[in-house]
């Protein structure tokens, strides 16, 4: 059984329907709202599997279904649906992880008063994300992209009574919108250059050879190819949504939302949308690769931004104390790896890492959620501790996730997907710098995850909450176990020995290699992972923290560096001092102008109007009375009337003005007729 591209709209439509039902359900209807949401997601998962089944028949084919949205004179704006292995794999991932997270939320949000609203927003998010995946038009993708942003705003700010949550929601929305501005401009440019926003349209789509040739053929300012300029503008959107440097600042703050939200949106799916976008428009991004005399290739920028982000996220994660923030920065770092893979020309490796990361990061976040829920919303790793014995299932699952993230060799999925990226970076002929940055981040990842494990699960509880934590019910632990299994198994879909995923994604059969081909680099990364784990254990595991207040060993060793890292290298302060202040000044200036300057202009115009009224009136009376004396009288009388008007008799004044205008009209009209 397969699902055809014409029916693929059902997959986003189901959660949308669930969201609508959730929105109309009163607060009491908790079972209805949650039941609909989970049922819709499960059915969407089944449909996604059918869609995947269909897409695998001929992986090289892009099945499309296009239709007109609106007509702009001699050009139409079209939307469309697309089904290919990339879409189908992402659909399966999002619906599967989504279903598990929805189920987990049943337990996690049990006590929340706004339970129904939560499921409504979750379903809205899922619908937007799934819509984004099936879009065959950059415009439809952008529409869903914005809705994803909206849903994330609503979910981050779900506990809006916390000022930090409200601020984080706004920050996330505005920061990603800065990136979206570039996306929008890229889209406008693309539409005006190619007259289409469809990806695949029987040879006329903007990702197809004929159109791309036109885009690479013309150059814009600075000698850039047109496709490079458009590609980089679209990449801005991905930078915002996927938390890439320098717009990564919103992602860690987004942890103010409930933890299932962090798992779903800020780890597994939404932030992956940026990576998906670049993978989707990869033909456009890579179109300039054949050109030799251009200042820069679009993918080179992507690779370097990715490498910087991978390293930056890992460095900052070392000095964070909030369990969710550590995971958030690790997400930033892992997304950087994915961008790096795209940049060095290995989209299949990027998507492989995206998929494995989605599972193990969802696992880690839900594991953290399990910890936080058990410890009554204690998130500071210094105040946790000793949970290994009290929460055995969570501990086991979390360990699997941690090892997958750290890239523990052979058994865990993260190892294989990260290996793929590092090999691709190694083969990149532009620069080896991204490879070295990626390798450095490998050590740091293993290090900070060991620190997290040691602080949270080992030693003894360092607060009342941690000491009295106990394992959560099955509704929360079963999703963890399922995700843990995936975190292991999934890696075998894309090993060099059986590169199924790569073959499917590229639509070409890829010859299996020996696992140990390129063994030098693999050995190096295994050594680096080992070093990171060992170092982490040496610093944090051998001498476990005794008191919550005790200083971090790194802090004692390098107080300056640690403080800078804990401060997230001052990005937020920098933006506050530049962008926000500039914005505030501009707003204050505009306000001042409006109150004072244009206000003055109004008074001036007002007095001009009064003057005109007076003149007209005096001319009028003049004409009636005639003679110089009455003229003087008239002026005096008008003066008196004027002073009366000043006291607020506006109706009379308006009448005056109206009469003046009638006279003026008559004079001019009659004058014109003669």
């Amino acid at each position: 059984m397969t699902l055809s591209v014409q029916s693929v709209w059902l997959i986003p439509a189901l959660p949308l329907l669930a969201a609508a039902i959730g929105a109309l359900t009163p607060r009491g209807g908790r079972k209805l709202a949650a039941g609909c949401a989970i049922a819709a997601m499960s059915v969407a998962f089944v449909l996604s599997c059918l869609a995947l089944n269909g897409a695998l028949v001929n992986p090289a084919q892009h099945a499309v279904f296009n239709f007109v949205w609106f007509d702009l004179g001699h050009r139409t704006v079209d939307l469309g649906l697309l089904l290919d292995p990339l879409t189908a794999l992402m659909l399966v991932m999002v619906t599967f992880v989504g279903t598990l997270i929805f189920i987990f939320s049943l337990g996690y949000m049990k006590e929340d008063a706004n339970f129904t609203r939560f499921f409504c927003f979750l379903s809205l998010f899922a619908a937007a994300m799934l819509g984004l995946l099936v879009a065959n038009s950059l415009l439809l993708l952008f529409v869903c992209w914005e809705l994803v942003g909206l849903a994330s705003y609503l979910l981050i700010g779900f506990w809006f009574h916390k000022p930090s949550a409200a601020a984080a929601a706004k920050k996330a929305f505005i920061t990603t919108r800065i990136g979206d501005l570039g996306f929008l401009l890229g889209m406008l440019w693309l539409y005006n250059s190619t007259q289409t926003l469809l990806f695949y349209d029987g040879g006329h789509g903007c990702l197809e050879t004929g159109v791309l040739a036109g885009l690479t053929g013309s150059t814009v300012a600075g000698g850039l190819a047109l496709s490079t300029a458009i590609g980089l503008l679209i990449f801005c959107g991905a930078v915002g949504k996927s938390g890439q440097f320098p717009l990564h600042v919103w992602l860690p703050d987004a942890m103010e939302g409930p933890t299932p939200v962090s798992a779903l949106i800020h780890a597994a799916t939404m932030v992956a949308a940026g990576v998906f976008l670049i993978a989707r428009v990869y033909p456009l991004m890579a179109a300039d690769q054949l050109l030799e005399h251009v200042p820069v290739h679009a993918l080179t920028v992507v690779a370097f931004i990715g490498a910087i982000t991978a390293l930056l996220g890992a460095v900052i994660a070392v000095a964070q104390n909030d369990i969710k923030r550590i995971l958030a920065f690790s997400t930033v770092s892992q997304l950087g790896y994915m961008m790096l893979a795209l940049g060095v020309g290995a989209p299949a490796a990027a998507i492989f890492h995206l998929l494995t990361h989605a599972f193990f990061k969802a696992l880690l976040f839900l594991g953290a959620g399990s910890v936080i829920h058990a410890a009554h919303h204690e998130q500071d790793i210094r105040r946790l501790g000793g949970l290994r014995l009290r929460m055995r299932v969570t501990f086991a699952a979390f360990t699997a996730g941690m090892l997958a993230l750290a890239g523990f060799p052979f058994v865990f999925s993260g190892f294989w997907s990260k290996e793929g990226i590092l090999h691709a970076a190694h083969e990149w002929d532009v620069s080896q710098l991204p490879l070295y940055m990626g390798l450095t981040a490998v050590v740091l990842t293993a290090f900070y995850m060991t620190r997290l494990m040691a602080e949270v699960f080992f030693g003894h509880g360092r607060s009342h909450e941690a000491e009295h934590a106990h394992e959560n019910p099955a509704v929360m632990t079963v999703p963890l176990v399922l995700l843990a299994i995936c975190a292991v198994v999934l890696g075998f879909l894309g090993t060099p020995a059986w590169p199924w995923l790569q073959s499917v994604l590229t639509g070409k059969a890829i010859e299996p290699h020996s696992i140990f081909e390129g063994g030098g680099l693999m050995l190096l990364s295994i050594i680096l992972v080992g070093a990171g784990l060992g170092l982490g254990w040496a610093v944090y595991g051998r001498r476990l923290r005794q008191k919550a207040e005790a200083a971090d060993p790194l802090q004692t060793a390098m107080p300056g560096v640690f403080a800078a890292l804990a401060d997230r290298l001052g990005f937020d302060e920098f933006y506050a001092a530049t962008v926000f202040r500039l914005n505030a000044y501009a707003a204050a200036l505009a306000d001042f102008l409006d109150r004072r300057v244009w206000g003055g202009l109004v008074s001036f115009l007002g007095s001009l109007g009064e003057f005109a009224g007076l003149v007209n009136r005096s001319v009028d009376e003049d004409g009636l009375n005639g003679g110089f004396d009455s003229f003087s009288e008239g002026v005096r009388g008008t003066g008196q009337r004027y002073s009366r008007l000043q006291t607020g008799e506006v109706h009379g004044y308006l009448r005056t003005l109206a009469i003046g205008f009638v006279v003026l009209v008559l004079i001019v009209v009659l004058g014109g007729v003669r």
Binding site: D71, L72, R75, K170, N583, A584, A590, D591, L601, Y653
Partner: protein, 503 residues
């Protein structure tokens, strides 16, 4: 189509009837007003249902009025007029629903209200510039009295400022039109007559005439730096009036620019084009920034109106079919969305809490006291910031697509406005409705129950549903309106000034 002129007569008759019914009872006046507005709206909708999109303007009535001067009572409609009369009917109906609670001198209020609506219908249907001007003036006068008598904060000042600006604007328009009439040999005021005559004018004449006419109309469309009447006027106006002011009266100005100034003086326009575009862009950004720091809730919305009207003007300035289609779509979209925002702020919130200061509102847990208002405002705010799914998105997108073909820099600068819009809208949403900081689990403070706010009434809910429904419908299916607008802009009349879009 042929029933469209009746919208004018129905509205004026309704105005008289409402005045008389007001002597009987306030309720009678309300129902008369509602019946009138709904009838007129129904007429526009039935015309729309039978409308076959075409480039040509369809003449509805054409009779000599002042034969010696060549003034004719000439009413005509095309897809643009149709879009705007449908908007007028919708905004008028919703406005009456949100004015249901007017208690003092109800009859007079609705009489003036309907007279204004009649004038607006007249402007959108006039094909004779002099007639258009007369209706334009008819629409302005009731505005003044509505604000001065039923308004709030500094109403005399706001009303006077609005009247002054409006009259100054119309004086400029009149001057320009009369000049063109005289220079063209005084044959008549018909739009096509004047356009034919204007083709023979010198460049200098066109430049000067265009400046007079365009500026005159643009004042009412809220063009920077002649926009300051709008926020003060909105703030002072009673809710129904500010809904009309933002919803349709600002459109009169933009409509005048599109219908009269641009096609009559294409050479003059070409000279002023960059200047208009930059003023529009400055307006978009500037008003957005001002909105970001306002402490009066209604001022935020007032400035957001100016910012959105900047998109309309920019769409016109870009002078191609796409951008102009977007501009007309944005007129509709903004009319609906601004109406809704003013309804929430003016009617749902202010008349219950008696404050519009954001600093006061943030202390109230409004989202719990007025959940319906909170949800409505969030949705209207999303629509206002151009979220997909609401009418603002296709409108602004179409404008930007069109503007891009004319100038990339303009498109870039205007797109930043979308960002600013998100910032001030989110601020307004968070501070006004979700500002109250509570500690988790705390029961509602007793003070909340001391002064319970009146629940949202049925007319308010009906009005909300109408406006929200319209913005979502057009957001999902912009073709409904674009299908009327685009062919009209491809007519030879507009093709003298608009580029790109031969049918």
């Amino acid at each position: 189509m042929n029933a469209l002129p009746c919208t004018i007569y129905v509205s004026f008759t309704g105005a008289l009837l409402a005045l008389l019914a007001g002597r009987v009872s306030a309720a009678a006046a309300r129902w008369v007003a509602l019946a009138t507005a709904v009838t007129a709206w129904g007429l526009t909708l039935s015309a729309a249902a039978h409308f076959v999109p075409a480039a040509a303007v369809q003449t509805l009535v054409d009779a000599p009025w002042v034969p010696t001067l060549g003034i004719r009572y000439h009413l005509a409609a095309d897809g643009i007029s149709l879009t705007l009369v449908v908007l007028t009917g919708l905004a008028a109906t919703a406005g009456i629903l949100f004015s249901w609670n007017i208690k003092e001198r109800t009859g007079e209020f609705f009489a003036l209200y309907l007279a204004l609506i009649g004038g607006v219908y007249g402007v959108f249907l006039s094909a004779d510039v002099f007639l258009l001007f007369v209706f334009y003036e008819i629409a302005i006068v009731p505005k003044y009295f509505l604000i001065a008598n039923w308004g709030s904060t500094r109403r005399e000042y706001g009303a006077m400022k609005l009247a002054l600006y409006s009259f100054a604007g119309s004086a400029l328009v009149l001057l320009g039109v009369l000049w063109a009439y005289a220079a063209g040999g005084s044959h008549g005021f018909g739009l096509t007559d004047l356009a034919t005559a204007a083709a023979g004018f010198t460049r200098g004449e066109q430049i000067a005439m265009f400046a007079l006419v365009f500026l005159g109309f643009a004042v009412l469309a809220g063009m920077f730096p002649f926009h300051t009447w709008a926020p003060t006027g909105h703030v002072a106006a009673p809710t129904g009036a500010s809904m009309l002011l933002a919803g349709v009266v600002m459109k009169l100005g933009a409509y005048g620019c599109l219908r009269v100034a641009l096609p009559l003086f294409p050479i003059g326009f070409a000279f002023w084009q960059p200047c208009i575009a930059w003023l529009a862009i400055i307006g978009i950004l500037y008003a957005g920034f001002v909105a970001l720091v306002q402490d009066d809730f209604k001022f935020v919305i007032g400035y957001s109106s100016v910012s959105h009207m900047g998109f309309v003007l920019l769409g016109l300035a870009a002078a191609n079919v796409r951008a102009a289609s977007g501009a007309v779509l944005q007129m509709f979209s903004h009319g609906v969305i601004a109406g809704l925002l003013f309804a929430v702020v003016g009617r749902m919130v202010y008349e219950r809490t008696h404050t519009r200061k954001l600093a006061d509102l943030r202390l109230l847990p409004l989202h719990r006291l007025l959940p319906f208002a909170a949800v409505t405002f969030v949705l209207a705010g999303l629509a206002s910031m151009g979220m997909p799914g609401f009418s603002g998105f296709p409108a602004e997108l179409t404008i930007l697509i069109g503007v891009w073909t004319t100038s990339r820099i303009w498109a870039l600068a205007a797109a930043v406005g979308v960002l600013v819009a998100a910032a001030f809208t989110l601020r307004a949403i968070q501070v006004s409705f979700f500002g109250k900081v509570e500690t988790a689990g705390e029961s509602p403070a007793p003070a909340d129950h001391a002064h319970p706010l009146d629940p949202i009434t049925l007319p308010e809910k009906l009005g909300t549903v109408l406006l929200l429904g319209a913005t979502i419908l057009i957001g999902l299916k912009p073709d409904l309106l674009l299908g009327w607008i685009t062919p009209a802009l491809q007519s030879p009349f507009f093709q003298t000034v608009l580029k790109g879009g031969t049918p």
